[in-house]
């Protein structure tokens, strides 16, 4: 029982720090790309910015409009956050440093990652606000469209690894000597990243939020601490999806040429570095791209990504059996 507690405590650190690191990265990336002095220089070169942000939100009034469906409205942020935290359970930082190495790890991760969207939908619906409702419905439409490419892109990895345990997948990559992204899953990786960006609702797929259209969409009616919970969850989600992508495609906690005996020491660092690199790409995309339109997003998913991922599965299978 103690080891469970230790692991959960470790997870607490990882989840919160991950969210904070990614917040800093996003904000500093933004001000760097936008030539904005604010978060780049103010207050310890902008590093205590997230703390100030959290303090600001914590002491703000939590306004719950009269029209809303109170219980659903109040607990929708909790739903989103809990589902984000649950994802941290399966990502291995090293062969032993994993909260729960499930046999069906990949399945668990994919299933949980889409649960958050249901929280978003309930938030939008319970707000009794037209903008929120549209935001929530868009979020659900996005979930439907991008869940499939996300799942199907992973099938290629599973074919190559012959297991669904995340630790197993990393071990297979160590055995191969190269990460899967080099070993034939480049298309799968790209599809996964695009679909994951859509799942995270980040630019260019941020229609459920779309502040210039829907005035923050499903979050319109949220204020104070409940808004903060959405905000933190967004970055947790970003962190953990990047970590899962690193694990599945980039070799997780291991880099080629480093001795596998010491993997318990350098594992977390390696994984975090890979995660941060992926996160930085997402930051760069966010601050340089406009937003798609909802129908364009659906087209991209159904007409390009899903057929491409199906073909990717077939090609991977032929490679696996044939060679």
């Amino acid at each position: 029982m103690t080891d469970v507690l230790v692991k959960v405590g470790f997870l607490a650190l990882a989840a919160l720090n991950g969210a904070i690191i990614f917040t800093i990265m996003d904000v500093k990336g933004a001000s760097w790309m936008q030539r904005r002095p604010g978060p780049l220089h103010v207050g310890l070169r902008g590093f205590i910015f997230p703390l100030a942000e959290i303090l600001k939100f914590v002491q703000k009034e939590d306004i719950i409009p009269t029209e809303v469906d109170r219980p659903v409205f109040k607990w929708a942020p909790a739903y989103v956050m809990v589902s984000c935290v649950a994802l941290f359970a399966v990502v291995p930082m090293s062969p032993t440093l994993v909260v729960a190495d499930l046999e069906l790890g990949v399945f668990f991760a994919l299933a949980i990652s889409s649960l958050g969207t249901i929280g978003v939908l309930t938030a939008g619906w319970s707000s009794a606000n037209k903008y929120s409702l549209m935001g929530g419905l868009r979020a659900a439409g996005q979930l439907i469209a991008y869940e499939l490419p996300l799942i199907l892109a992973v099938v290629g990895v599973v074919i190559q690894a012959e297991t669904m345990s995340l630790v197993g997948i990393v071990e297979k990559q160590i055995e191969w000597g190269v990460p899967f992204v080099v070993g034939g899953q480049i298309v799968g990786f790209l599809i996964f990243m695009v679909a994951a960006t859509a799942e995270m609702m980040r630019v260019p797929f941020d229609m459920p939020i779309g502040e210039s259209e829907l005035t923050m969409g499903f979050m319109t009616e949220y204020s104070g601490i409940r808004f903060l919970i959405f905000y933190i969850s967004e970055y947790m989600n970003m962190f953990i999806l990047c970590a899962i992508a690193s694990t599945l495609f980039l070799g997780g906690y291991h880099v080629p040429l480093l001795p596998t005996e010491w993997v318990n020491f350098y594992g977390p660092v390696v994984l975090l570095t890979k995660t941060a690199i992926l996160g930085f790409i997402l930051v760069a995309v966010r601050w340089s791209q406009p937003r798609f339109r909802e129908d364009q997003l659906q087209n991209l998913a159904w007409k390009i990504l899903i057929p491409a991922s199906l073909i990717n599965i077939l090609v991977t299978a032929v490679m696996k059996v044939g060679f």
Partner: protein, 121 residues
């Protein structure tokens, strides 16, 4: 079997931790934040004017057909995963089976695209 359950106990603990995190944040905030509600503040936001009608109005959920397709594909995905793990053992037989399977799926998708049902308007 024991470890199997152990894993899920851990997952439950993780979920519990997530819930604890939320409750902690809400608790801290409830101590710190002011609370001065009044009718105008609690009005639904609609760009600064009184809302027209109810926020619960009916809308046409565009992705009705998308939803149906999604369910089909999602179920197929569940079949694909076990096949993917055992592909080495199944060999060419499994490969051809899956070709047929995915081919049928693709045909369905192409049919849907040609029928213009995947049009979000």
């Amino acid at each position: 079997m024991i470890s199997y359950f152990q894993d899920y106990v851990t997952i439950a603990a993780v979920l519990g931790f997530g819930l604890f995190l939320v409750v902690l944040l809400l608790g801290v905030a409830s101590v710190l934040r002011p609370n001065k509600p009044y009718a105008e503040k609690l009005q639904t936001y609609e760009c600064g004017v009184d809302p027209v009608g109810s926020g619960w109005s009916q809308t046409y959920v565009r992705y009705y057909i998308f939803g149906l397709l999604f369910v089909i594909f999602d179920v197929e995905a569940v079949f694909i995963f076990p096949w993917a793990i055992n592909l080495e053992k199944l060999g060419y037989f499994g490969l051809i089976e899956m070709f047929v399977f995915i081919f049928i799926l693709l045909i369905g998708l192409i049919y849907a695209i040609r029928k213009d049902v995947l049009k979000w308007e």
